[in-house]
């Protein structure tokens, strides 16, 4: 196991109280595995990604542990965590379009970043990686604004993986891209994994269709908790949790005329995480729910590698 997360709890401090964005999440990522993390907005997927590398000022680590390659990550200790960042855990952020300093030539910025981490810039390695993602070497002499969105995205991917981290957190990196660029980015990520630049990857997205193409395993979250985790093909073909099933059924399909078969969504909205109700969090929107669901459903392994948190599964 590259990554083992045990009962992780992270909350946001707000004026109204603590928002429990992650409420006891446990899972593992194997060596070489790409874990796709899906769920609707506010389910805690970005919070999970951030928790693994850098908690922002409003986030508080309430409990649980994160272990990477057998060592515990001091996620609550910003200073001690620094040793792991970039070297062991790295991030391709949601905002890759604006992640590069606009007033520095890219090559110089990379060199300065590496120097500040006490690493010498290996120009050959950097250029080989650029070739791999299909970026001309001249981008190093350019300013970020001279690159297109897709180029910036790939540039950030190259920078983030330059020190061959064990775990790469890719947070919604395809959301702002058009479909053909999404494909190029997904292929580059797979290439990085296959070449061993990154050992394993957490691919956070709300795009289940895309996830199923590049992830080995898919994990679905709902309201700060894990609902289901299974190998990608199993997840798409035979989901067990009612939420996952409804989520997959709500995806539009090419060629289907929706006048004949209306596109169904999931009625209702997730519960407030400020003071979540006890029991299964999907209860209010779930067609199968009964009194038994008033109790928290435990995460159980129904088949090998298939985890579900539902009394009805």
């Amino acid at each position: 196991m590259t990554l083992t997360v045990t009962d992780l709890r992270v909350s946001y401090r707000t004026l109204g109280g603590e928002v429990k964005a992650l409420d006891g999440v446990s899972f593992g990522v194997r060596d070489g595995e790409i874990l796709g993390l899906a769920g609707e907005s506010g389910c805690g997927k970005t919070t999970l990604g951030k928790s693994l590398i850098r908690l922002d000022g409003r986030m508080r680590h309430v409990g649980g542990t994160v272990e990477l390659d057998g060592r515990e990550l001091p996620i609550a200790d910003d200073r001690r965590m620094n040793a792991f960042r970039f070297h062991e855990v790295s991030l391709v952020p949601q905002y890759a379009m604006s992640a590069l300093n606009p007033t520095r030539r890219i090559g110089r910025m990379v060199a300065e970043l590496l120097k500040s981490r006490g690493v010498r810039l290996d120009r050959d390695k950097l250029e080989r990686r650029l070739d791999l993602v299909g970026l001309p070497r001249e981008v190093l002499d350019r300013y970020p604004l001279e690159l297109s969105g897709g180029m910036k995205q790939r540039m950030v991917m190259v920078v983030s993986t330059l020190l061959d981290p064990s775990l790469l957190v890719a947070d919604e990196i395809t959301s702002a891209l058009d479909v053909s660029t999404q494909k190029a980015v997904a292929r580059a990520l797979l290439g990085f994994r296959d070449s061993g630049f990154v050992k394993s990857m957490l691919f956070i997205t709300h795009d289940l269709a895309l996830t199923s193409h590049i992830a080995d395993t898919i994990m679905v979250m709902y309201a700060g908790r894990l609902t289901e985790k299974a190998p990608a093909d199993v997840m798409v073909k035979a989901p067990r949790h009612p939420y996952t099933r409804m989520l997959i059924n709500s995806l539009p399909e090419v060629g289907v005329r929706h006048a004949e078969r209306p596109l169904s969504g999931i009625a209702g909205s997730p519960p407030s995480l400020l003071d979540p109700p006890p029991g299964c969090r999907f209860r209010d929107r779930c067609p199968l729910a009964d009194e038994g669901c008033a109790e928290d459903p435990p995460v159980t392994e129904t088949e090998p590698d298939h985890f579900v948190a539902c009394w009805k599964a």
Partner: protein, 331 residues
């Protein structure tokens, strides 16, 4: 690049023409007759003599010709670098009078502008990282920047000059001295320089510090700063980038502030009777000295335009986004 500067120069040229025209108009449409004032000062009471002098002076300064001719003549002499003869200090040429005052104003303005900008930026950047400092710099900055130049000047003159007696409150050098290149004179010069400088410096400092503090906080929350922090970059690097990017709007601010500071220097000079352009303008107005007034205004207009042009150049060097804009690219 050429297109960009061509356009800039055109705008500057237009500004110059408008400024010169307004400059020519203002003193002429002021109430009062400068020649009458001059004659009154001579104390001649014989009507025939007064009339002869009036005709002589009116002809000399060209006041008897139609306005458009005066205007055209004004441009013609201006382009030859001739600002005319001062009425107040007749018959000294205006250019001589101005050149005598310019060193004082520049010695006051340039250090005040640049040092306050530099120190304000440092202070603001520093305030953005320390809560304690932030809680003191910010209110003090607001008070300073809201303070009118002459009010602070009067306070300083009263506090450090009259009450404490550390600094003289009037003049550019001690009245007992003649300008000369001696140690004594230079020391006196410096001594008289401190208070006017301080009043300009402090007011500008507050504004810069507040601006910089806000810009730095904004930059430190920007995406590139967050990304660098996530990759474990030390805050030294992040702050360096943030500072550099936050300085860019401050450079624009510097260009805008120059005009304000010139005005600030004028009142400050008047408060301290400092022998610079400000005092000259006051004298010119009091004596209805059209030519001197035009000359000083002209000098200030050209100064502000040149300073702005320099800042345009600096901007092209420091901000790559401007260069992309010049090439017609969309940033």
């Amino acid at each position: 690049m050429r297109h960009y500067f061509g356009r800039k120069l055109l705008v500057y040229a237009l500004t110059f023409v408008v400024a010169v025209t307004v400059n020519w108009m203002i003193p002429r449409f002021m109430p009062g007759d400068p020649v009458a004032g001059m004659l009154a000062r001579t104390g001649v009471s014989q009507p025939a003599a007064v009339e002869a002098m009036r005709v002589y002076y009116t002809d000399l300064f060209g006041f008897d010709r139609p306005l458009w001719e005066q205007y055209a003549g004004f441009w013609a002499t201006l382009l030859r670098g001739d600002f005319g003869i001062s009425i107040w200090l007749f018959p000294t040429p205006v250019s001589t009078v101005i050149l005598r005052a310019v060193p004082y104003t520049l010695a006051l303005m340039i250090p005040a502008v640049l040092l306050s900008w530099w120190a304000g930026n440092r202070l603001g950047a520093y305030a953005a990282r320390r809560r304690l400092l932030d809680n003191t710099v910010l209110p003090v900055g607001y008070v300073l920047t809201a303070m009118p130049y002459m009010w602070l000047a009067v306070l300083l003159a009263w506090g450090l000059g009259v009450v404490a007696g550390w600094f003289p409150v009037a003049g550019g050098y001690a009245f007992s001295l003649q300008p000369a290149l001696t140690g004594e004179f230079l020391l006196s010069l410096l001594h008289h320089w401190v208070l006017p400088f301080l009043s300009l410096f402090l007011v500008a400092l507050g504004g810069w510090a507040i601006g910089m503090r806000n810009m730095i906080i904004y930059e430190l929350e920007s995406d590139y700063a967050t990304y660098l922090a996530a990759l474990g970059a030390p805050s030294r690097l992040i702050r360096r980038y943030a500072f550099r990017n936050a300085v860019l709007p401050q450079i624009t601010g510097l260009a805008l502030q120059l005009g304000v500071l010139v005005a600030g220097a004028l009142v400050t000079e008047i408060v301290f009777s400092y022998p610079g352009l400000g005092s000259l303008i006051l004298k010119a107005i009091q004596n209805q000295d059209f030519f001197l007034l035009q000359g000083t205004f002209m000098f200030i207009v050209v100064g502000v335009l040149v300073a702005n042009f320099v800042i345009d150049l600096v901007y092209v060097v420091v901000d790559p986004r401007t260069r992309a804009g010049m090439a017609g690219a969309q940033a």
